[in-house]
Amino acid sequence: MNKELTNKNNLRVAENRVVRKAYATVNIDGCEVKAPVGEILAVTLFVNRKLTLKYSSRNKEPRGFFCLMGSCQECLVQVNNRIVPSCQMVVEEGIIINTGINK
């Protein structure tokens, strides 16, 4: 039964358990990706295995999201030339996301 719930290598719970009514195309570091409208952007990046979102201030080590609720500020990405926490934004058609701040 468990195998029905998620597609192999797909972290999203399958559509027979939760319907995601609409999909949009977003651009992640130059690649076009389909993602469910309304999904948290940090989660979209995570599901697409973009685990490294930025590089740390002094040591320039790779960082991904930690808290997912707007507190830790580790999920910072660039959206339309602004630095934003990706856990505070959701998927909309046409969003352009760039990871890798402070590389």
């Binding site: 201030s57 002094r58 500020q73 030339n81 602004r82 630095i83 402070n102």
Partner: protein, 367 residues
């Protein structure tokens, strides 16, 4: 503590710390006392700007010396506080500002400041991130900044190395003159005896002088400072505007500090209490007008620093009026820059030497 000190400095900001450092180097048995940690008030929370553009014209010679000291801290302070020497620009965006700028430049040039009036276009060559609408600018090559919050730690180390006694977290509640000595009473009922005292309490000088029955009113400004998170490089100079009410710089770590003296709410007793939202927005709008790229960042902290100002906006450096062996130093607008040099001058005075530059007679301000 019953030992008899040659000098007790009350107030551990940059003025008091510098004075204490020079005196202890000249073999005076020194103690410096602060109710908190060294340089945690104005000297630790200011914007760190080392500027001639924003220094009062008559204080330019002192600020130039101060600038030189901050640029050679390894020699006298023995550690770095991140001093960065960069170009300074004071900007004019309107006709009125151009006129004001021209006046201020002339006044400072007359006092020996290496400041030059340049066109908006020339300013943009020095600072490409500038708004295209800049009309003219005052350019000073001898400009820059430090990381003010590192000052206390540095002084503490230097003073300890000179065997100066450093007494932090000790509040003084009064002073008495006993025979030919000063008895300094602390809140925990300890007392300290010294042959000489130096009052260096910044915005609290008015209260300190009243311990000795001397009345000099000191105004307390509540200055707003704003810092962003680390951002990509958008500027490489220190910026101000014609009337002085902006200070803008980007540190090596990418954070951008916005200041300039916009006021918040607070007082001497409570400290800085809160920012005034319209002033917060206004200060940031002004900064963004100068460097439009600033818009892409985020503000992460606002704080308020208390700054002291005398009635004529010039410092107090010299004898406490009417009391021998008692000295006072401080309360000067943008005093961080000239602090180490003014401390040097007072130390010369205390040791009976002729001072390299004139002092500022405190008795002129007696009420």
């Amino acid at each position: 503590m019953m030992e008899n000190f040659d000098v007790a400095v009350i107030g551990g900001g940059v003025m008091g710390c510098s004075t204490a450092l020079y005196l202890s180097r000249n073999r005076m048995k020194t103690i410096i006392i602060d109710r908190g940690a060294l340089c945690r008030e104005a000297s630790g929370v200011n914007a760190g700007t080392l500027t001639l553009n924003m220094t009062r014209a008559s204080l330019i010679p002192y600020a130039i010396k101060g600038w030189e000291l901050w640029n050679s801290t390894e020699k006298w302070l023995l550690s770095s506080i991140g001093t960065k020497k960069v170009n300074g620009l004071s900007l004019a965006f309107t006709e009125e500002e151009e006129e004001l700028l021209s006046q201020r430049v002339q006044a400072r040039q007359a006092m020996g400041a290496p400041i030059k009036l340049i066109s908006g276009k020339e300013a943009q060559e020095i600072e490409p991130g500038l708004n295209n609408s800049v009309r003219s600018a005052a350019w000073c090559a001898k400009d820059g900044f430090t990381s003010a919050y590192l000052t206390g730690h540095a002084f503490k180390k230097a003073l300890s190395q000179e065997n100066s006694e450093v007494m932090e977290y000790s509040k003084v509640r009064g002073i008495e003159i006993v025979k030919n000595n000063f008895k300094i009473f602390l809140e925990n009922n300890e007392d300290i005896t010294a042959k000489r005292i130096v009052l260096a309490g910044g915005v609290w000088l008015e209260e300190m002088l009243s311990w000795l029955n001397v009345k000099i009113p000191i105004k307390c400004l509540i200055n707003q400072l704003i810092i962003t998170e680390r951002m990509p490089t958008v500027m490489k100079t220190v910026l101000s505007i014609a009337n002085g009410l902006l200070s803008l710089k980007q540190f090596d770590n990418g954070t951008i500090l916005i200041g300039g003296g916009w006021q918040g709410l607070g007082d001497k007793e409570r400290g800085g209490v809160e920012a005034i939202p319209e002033n917060l927005r206004g200060n940031i709008r002004l900064a963004c007008h100068a460097i439009p790229e600033l818009r892409s960042g985020r503000m992460v902290r606002v704080w308020l620093g208390l700054e002291a100002e005398t009635a004529d906006a010039l410092p107090l450096i010299g004898n406490v009026p009417g009391i021998s062996n008692a000295y006072v130093i401080g309360s000067v607008h943008s005093g961080y820059t000239s602090g180490p040099y003014m401390g040097w001058l007072l130390s010369q005075f205390i040791m009976g030497q002729e001072t390299d530059m004139p002092l500022f007679e405190p008795s002129r301000l007696i009420n």
